[in-house]
């Protein structure tokens, strides 16, 4: 078995118009910038994107939005140092926004990956976010029912990867990446270093390869913060 894909272009080639795409990362850390840029080049549109944020500057997710490819964004915090692309799209009515509390977003993704259609959380009880959702009392406390969140594709960033798709992550760049890997029909990872089978200590594997459909090596990946300081614009 070898899940290695030669280029980022090949890695994202099968993503169709209208797909729901989870994109890993929290701000710039763990954001698969090169896969997002390959998706921009590929041209898919009318996407629903799941990400914690809404892009920063004019690269990565912000660039995907700026190119008019995203119809709907599911996120917890659409703010950043430079959220101008999202803000302009939002006020122009070009993009729909579904705000989900961050822990609920994470758990909905986890549930999607774990085959749990719904769960109850205390988060958002009594707020606008819980409007219309079933509420149940457990042990005297009120909880809101939330549904799983799944995707057609997940684009994630990892540190090491092997041909079976076993992945490790680097520091806080882990964030949403491992759970998104479980919740998509097809998970594509960019890895900073592709290593041979057996080169990753099994104790260190965070995402077992069963969750990963394909991986492509992107050595020295771009960091969103540094691209933004350089005032980079993609494409």
């Amino acid at each position: 078995m070898d899940k290695t894909i030669q280029t980022t272009a090949e890695a994202v080639a099968q993503i169709p118009d209208g797909a729901t795409v989870m994109i890993g990362g929290f701000g710039g850390s763990g954001a698969p910038i090169e896969l997002i840029h390959a998706l921009i080049d590929q041209g898919a549109k009318h996407l629903t994107v799941v990400n914690n944020n809404a892009g920063n500057g004019h690269v990565g997710l912000a660039a995907l939005i700026e190119q008019g490819r995203v119809d709907k964004l599911i996120c917890s915090f659409p703010r950043s140092a430079d959220p101008s692309v999202f803000v302009e799209s939002y006020w122009a009515g070009k993009i729909k926004l579904d705000i989900v509390p961050q822990g609920t977003l994470a758990e909905r993704i986890r549930a999607g990956g774990a085959g749990i259609p719904a769960f109850y959380t205390p988060t958002a009880f009594g707020t606008d976010v819980a409007k219309g959702k079933p509420v149940e009392v457990f042990e005297g406390r009120s909880y809101v029912q939330e549904r799983w969140l799944k995707a057609d594709f997940a684009l994630i960033k990892a540190d090491l990867g092997d041909p079976h798709g076993n992945l490790t992550y680097r520091m806080a760049a882990r964030n949403f990446n491992p759970i998104m890997a479980t919740a998509a029909m097809t998970t594509i990872a960019q890895v900073s270093q592709l290593v041979g089978l057996g080169a990753i200590d099994p104790e260190r594997v965070i995402t077992p390869g069963i969750f990963v459909a394909g991986l492509t090596e992107v050595p020295n990946p771009a960091q969103e913060e540094e691209l933004n300081w350089a005032e980079a614009i993609y494409p």
Binding site: S29, F77, P101, T123, A172, Q223
Partner: protein
């Protein structure tokens, strides 16, 4: 109406006061922005363990300029550092720590706090783009939820109110408010005044507060050192 411009505590002083209530070894989450300042003023000999939503426990202060590693950030997207004892985890585990009731304290900012403990801090209504982040999770599940805030808005309107008029972040969740004028607990009676700065009378403080201030025992002087912002 009393002018509080020259007598109110600075944000750094509010953060200092909030920090004095954090126990050694407490697991603490600080909201992004102003609440992050609390970490700088821990009491001598006490070391809290800070949690950040994006999957780091027990991180250190900001690195020197030029030494940032952008894979090592906090929820405010600011660079932080490793400490002996730092751990990393994914987002679902991070919020298991939150939702599972494992955090001792969450300290957040506020647009409004109501006398029943309701908090509004995520949306100003229809005028802006809403952004909730992890606040709704934190306020419902941390063992103690405290707020650091100016006592009134920039326009002088009370931020401690009878009932929140802005969209709620959580219901009945706030237990202590560290304001620029006072320390106020929230319990079944409503707002209970614990400490106030000497430069303001209880009547003047009440006039700047949108719901009754109750007394339950003596009101202490709120004294903060001149700390740097």
């Amino acid at each position: 109406m009393i002018d509080i411009t020259d007598i109110k505590l600075s944000n750094a002083q509010i953060a200092w006061r909030a920090a004095q209530d954090i126990d050694d070894g407490a697991y603490v989450n600080l909201g992004i922005g102003f609440p992050e300042m609390v970490a700088r003023f821990q009491a001598e000999g006490k070391q809290a363990i800070f949690h950040t939503e994006n999957g780091v426990l027990d991180f250190g202060e900001a690195p020197k300029p030029g030494e940032e590693d952008w894979d090592l950030i906090n929820a405010g997207k600011k660079a932080v550092t490793l400490r002996p004892g730092t751990s990393f985890f994914h987002h679902a585990d991070s919020f298991a720590m939150v939702r599972g009731g494992h955090l001792d304290v969450a300290i957040l900012g506020a647009y409004q706090v109501a006398q029943n403990g309701d908090l509004a801090n995520w949306s100003t209504g229809k005028s802006g783009i809403p952004a909730v982040g992890g606040a709704m999770d934190l306020v419902q599940s941390a063992k103690r939820v405290a707020v650091v805030t100016d006592h009134v808005t920039k326009n002088g309107a009370p931020k401690l109110v009878d009932a929140c008029t802005l969209p709620l972040t959580g219901v009945g969740c706030v237990t202590r408010i560290y304001s620029s004028l006072a320390v106020i607990d929230v319990d079944v009676a409503g707002f209970v005044l614990r400490e106030k700065i000497s430069a303001i009378s209880t009547d003047e403080l009440q006039s700047l507060t949108g719901a009754p201030l109750h007394a339950n025992g003596p009101v202490q002087k709120l004294i903060c050192p001149k700390v740097l912002a």
